[in-house]
Subunit: 262 residues, 3 copies
């Protein structure tokens, strides 16, 4: 059976995620549920979208991603389903799914059939009342036609990840994300980096410091910086054995520059 994969900003402190699982089980007993992450910063659609983009493609065909970062809960923002060639994504229409749509295309549906919602419907916890049950009904094979109606692409909320600026002599990028180790993810993709690099020696400049390109953390001394092609296909910057984010006081949006040597 396909898994339901949960991505939320509900954290681990409260009963919110547990209750979503209970709701799923009441509708579709013995469902398999995998936690993608629940520690998205509260309401941070950008972070949710970026996180989802890094890892969704590692899940089996048929996986149903239930993505609930929903600062507009209770307003008129729609609830939607994106069906790609491999997956379903269920989410508020707030931009979260836009980067996935850009990459995968697919069909977009608006969730309209209230008979599939919990009743009474709260105005602040649609993860429990709408997104969990809809995910469970999708898993049970209820067709999209019964859950809602086609949603016009032009009404899909946009969220564009900022792209880097490439010239022959340099690339200007910025920090999009920090992981739990304090490593920084840049908006520079492996492919465009390698194409620009043309086999030459390069270095990265961040906060006025020159940082070398390496393959693994231990190629630099402890606490020294390096950059590398990260596991998600983006350039990353890190310290060997420590948190770059904390030690250097970095924040999302900080600029980084790539130069060719000599």
């Amino acid at each position: 059976m396909s898994p339901i994969v949960l991505l939320t900003d509900f954290g681990h402190k409260d009963w919110f995620v547990g209750v979503m699982k209970g709701v799923i089980w009441r509708i579709s007993p013995s469902s398999s549920i995998i936690d993608y992450t629940h520690e998205i910063s509260p309401g941070d659609i950008f972070e949710a979208s970026f996180s989802l983009l890094q890892g969704y493609s590692y899940f089996p065909k048929g996986s149903i991603f239930c993505c609930v970062v929903d600062p507009g809960v209770g307003t008129s923002r729609e609830a939607i389903i994106l069906k790609t060639s491999q997956y379903f994504f269920v989410s508020p229409n707030n931009g979260l799914l836009y980067p996935i749509y850009e990459k995968e295309k697919g069909e977009i549906w608006e969730i309209t059939q209230k008979k599939y919602f919990l009743s009474p419907l709260s105005s602040t916890f649609h993860g429990r009342d709408i997104f969990a049950p809809i995910s469970a009904y999708l898993l049970k094979g209820i067709p999209l036609e019964e859950i809602g109606r086609p949603f016009p692409l032009e009404r899909l909320s946009k969220l564009i990840l900022p792209s880097c600026k490439i010239s022959s002599s340099r690339i200007e990028g910025e920090i999009l994300y920090f992981d739990r180790f304090g490593n920084a993810f840049l908006n520079i993709k492996e492919k465009e980096f390698l194409s620009w690099k043309e086999g030459k020696e390069v270095f990265l400049e961040l906060k006025g410091r020159k940082i070398p390109l390496k393959k693994s953390f231990q190629e630099v001394p402890p606490y020294e910086p390096l950059f590398y092609i990260g596991s998600s296909g983006y350039l990353e910057v890190a310290l060997n054995g420590s948190s770059l984010k904390e030690k250097w006081g970095l924040k999302r949006g900080d600029k980084a520059f790539l130069y060719k040597m000599g």
Copy 2:
């Protein structure tokens, strides 16, 4: 198969929850285990009880709730099972289950048969040695009569959630809980609120500020306060897009007052 649902204050740092799952699996292979929460503040029976009360009813019939917040572990406090019309609840007899009992009634049993415990029995980790195995044996269908004996209601530890004070002109309530977003849960229930309100305009006073009643966060400007009927049927107070708890320096027990307009 019914799930075992875990609620503890064991956190995520240590192996405690993992080991409880291992123990369950040794007794009942391939059990489904759902995490309700493990981030109850250490030893905080009130918080555990309140959390359980908000979400247990969303789980499928037959669910076995294994609830271990147990500051009295190793003392003479009993281990009990509450069997309601829908669920089993396994827990120390320390008040945690009292609000559930008040609401659902049911049978209370004391766990006495040591042959179902792990051996040797530790004096500080009954989650592993008693509550996990008993939950697994319940899932396997071992009858209550074999696990223990009826427990007299008068010996059930009490825990009474403080109730609000209602007069025709105002309701005096207090904060019972903060969620991960810093939203405050008051001890004022939807039903009593609506009945008192009689369709009139009302406002909430908290820390000397007047707070309007709204349906969703975005009906007030960013960082402004609102109160609303929360998804668990209690009134909640929040800031749009920020943590009320942190920004206003609130704590559990802080008073809040509802008034009618004009």
Copy 3:
């Protein structure tokens, strides 16, 4: 079916653990995966090894432990499998598995067959690219002979937990670990403690204070210290109802001394 048990330092913030589960499911659909812990301090092989040692034996026979605390990822450190009489352990060769090997013995294999890795292979996320897939293939029954080759014991990275010093009048121990409650685990085992004690009255000295031996937290007044035989077979020191680590400002490696009375 046996579970795959995950122990990592990947935390809960990012998609890393979720993605490992996705990878496992693509190879071995509907696998059962149990989280041991993901909150090992970043890169702390000692903590990972100690944590694993405390709880692995509670899991069912056939469990596959996938242990990824891997500060040397991308270097020449090998990926290995330890097969004991009951379990498989998959891990980088960095000492993490050494205490388990010392206790259980068994066969050690080096993972060499790249056809079982994800491709392309990253240089910084072998949890996703090597350890998750190898664990999934083990679960599917791929024999060790197909995954790799026998690994010479003399090349197994060592990690020795510091032992205590025992004389007839005292035991000198040290703090190895703090749990989420701030309780301190000493490197003094129940068995050696009881043998040394010879039924006499004893006390523990830590930070110049005399601490009594008790069975449960509530045998001392709130916030007072006690020591006891912990649930994992090590002596532990704690405050009743509070964090010893925080209140007393302790750190790993701090010394503690046991003395006989009178």
